[in-house]
């Protein structure tokens, strides 16, 4: 009787993979140890010329704790974020791999995340993604199987529960991830921007990078709201810093980029000078020094769009790092 019962018993389930113990990345380490993190953006090229990436890596190394790799930003096809991030790991510049919900369903997302983690990528920024009508393939089918908050939940589940979204087990090893998201404190509708941040934190966001901040009082107010909601104990906020080049650029962004609010006095300051780039840099450095004082701000995210060479200048002048 006992033999028959033993024959019918299912094979023992494999042991779940060991839990992930942080900090899993250099970025997480800096933040957890109370340091002031610096991140910047690295835009991948539209072809396979990896020398472009190597050049940008050389420019940023030593000036940032990690660099974000955009994921077909503005829906313009570029070499993939995962490939670029893997290359950066090899070259010794820690990536923050951006992943958008626009182009991949949950199968591809989970598969790519496992691949990324296996290749040494640790920081992932979960985003909805700019709509495909903006970009180079406006006729492409829309995926958006999940949104950025659901993506955070799924990645957290892979790491913390060793479970895929559909409930099956992750085998062999959990992806050690440091999970991030975006926050647009100045965006519409104003009522819910902090409520939505709270959702992101509950879903698994450990750090957020914000849209470019130019309105300090408004940002301070949003940070206070976030603090009052108890979010800042578990969340590192890295405000976005966009160095302006001209008054024209400032006016363009104010008019056309959602979630960016530029006060009139900043515009006037830019209009009143000959060297717009220098003034823009000064403003960026001042903003960094100002946001550093706000409780809950644990670093900055410098978005020098296609101007990676400016990052070293800003970081140096703000006294954040001394270079490689």
């Amino acid at each position: 009787m006992a033999e028959a019962a033993a024959k019918k018993a299912p094979p023992p389930k494999p042991e779940p993979p060991p839990p992930v113990v942080g900090p899993v990345s250099g970025l997480e380490k800096v933040i957890k140890s109370g340091g002031f993190a610096v991140t910047a953006e690295l835009g991948p090229p539209k072809g396979v010329d990896l020398a472009v990436v190597q050049k940008k890596v050389a420019i940023l190394k030593g000036w940032v704790d990690a660099a974000n790799v955009t994921d077909n930003q503005t829906a313009v096809v570029r070499i993939s974020s995962i490939a670029t991030s893997a290359l950066m790991v090899q070259q010794g510049l820690e990536p923050v791999m951006q992943m958008v919900a626009r182009d991949r369903n949950r199968i591809a997302i989970q598969s790519d995340i496992l691949g990324a983690a296996a290749l040494g990528i640790r920081n992932v920024l979960c985003l909805s993604g700019d709509h495909q009508t903006f970009g180079s393939e406006p006729g492409a089918a829309n995926v958006y199987d999940v949104d950025s908050i659901q993506m955070l939940m799924i990645l957290k589940g892979l790491r913390d529960d060793a479970k895929f979204a559909g409930g099956t087990d992750v085998e062999g090893g959990r992806p050690p991830l440091y999970l991030g998201a975006a926050w647009s404190p100045d965006a519409d509708p104003a009522d819910v921007r902090t409520l939505r941040l709270a959702k992101k934190v509950r879903a698994g966001a450990q750090f957020v990078q914000t849209q470019g901040i130019f309105d300090l009082p408004a940002f301070k107010l949003e940070m206070k709201k976030a603090g009052d909601m108890g979010l800042l104990d578990k969340l590192a906020v890295l405000p976005g810093i966009i160095p302006l080049k001209s008054a024209g650029m400032a006016k363009f962004m104010r008019k056309n980029v959602a979630g960016i609010s530029i006060p009139e006095d900043v515009i006037q300051r830019m209009e009143g000078v000959k060297d717009g780039k220098e003034e823009g840099t000064k403003i960026a450095v001042e903003m960094i020094q100002a946001v550093r004082e706000i409780p809950g701000v644990r670093g900055v995210h410098i978005m020098a769009i296609e101007w990676e060479s400016k990052v070293a200048d800003i970081v140096g002048r703000a006294g954040l790092k001394k270079g490689p």
Binding site: S128, M153, A203
Partner: protein
């Protein structure tokens, strides 16, 4: 209702090229309400086709007939006589009508004269707007009666995204941000706390993603089953 728009005339002319005897089949329900494929529209289109043929020196005879709906078998029977007598049919019903006619009249070429656009509502005369994406698992109770699948360009379930601006969607200032509308509505209903609930990933199998869908009501089957002659 289903909202459609007639295909550009040039496209229709190309489609019917080579046929000498054509039936323009209109539909009296949804596409009549949006003035795209009803009796009047069938009449106008038939006249335009006759005129175009005459001007280009081609022989073309065009018949017209509009039935109440092309998606219910009993109404298609009314078309039998005319359909039998033509080379091809230009149906200006929605895609369902065109296909159902093709199923009923298997040996006859049925051409689509309409681009079926969406399920929507009439905002004012001449303006129709999409409202339902037929996801198959309605969550309008959670979103104050505003659909995030149909009205958010990214079908976010925990929106809005960072592209929402002044209540408008980043895709175009001509369309509202679905989530801005949802937030306003939840506020006015005193239900804003529902906004903070995380909506988990959806099972899209009830939507188009699961493949062609059917609804079967066993309790209604075999009663009054319609048999074509």
């Amino acid at each position: 209702m289903i909202v459609g728009e007639q295909k550009p005339f040039e496209e229709i002319v190309k489609m019917i090229d080579g046929h000498k005897r054509l039936l323009v089949a209109g539909c009296g329900t949804c596409v009549s309400v949006c003035f795209a494929g009803g009796e009047k529209e069938a009449g106008v289109l038939a006249s335009m086709l006759r005129l175009q043929a005459q001007q280009s020196g081609r022989t073309l005879e065009v018949l017209e007939q509009t039935v109440k709906r092309q998606c219910d078998p009993e109404f298609l029977e009314e078309l039998v006589a005319k359909v039998d007598s033509v080379d091809a049919v230009l149906s200006i019903a929605c895609g369902c009508g065109v296909q159902f006619m093709a199923e009923r009249f298997a040996k006859k070429l049925i051409l689509p004269g309409l681009n079926t656009r969406f399920i929507g509502v009439t905002l004012e005369q001449g303006v129709w707007s999409e409202r339902c994406a037929m996801c198959g698992d309605c969550i309008l109770d959670r979103t104050g009666g505003i659909c995030p699948v149909a009205r958010c360009a990214k079908r976010l379930h925990n929106g809005p995204c960072g592209g929402s601006s002044g209540g408008k969607c980043e895709v175009g200032k001509d369309r509202d941000c679905g989530w801005a509308l949802i937030v306003e509505r939840l506020k006015s209903l005193g239900m804003l706390e529902r906004y903070s609930e995380i909506v988990p990933p959806r099972d899209w199998r009830t939507s188009r993603d699961g493949g062609q869908r059917s609804v079967v009501r066993e309790d209604l089957k075999e009663q009054g089953k319609f048999e074509p002659r």
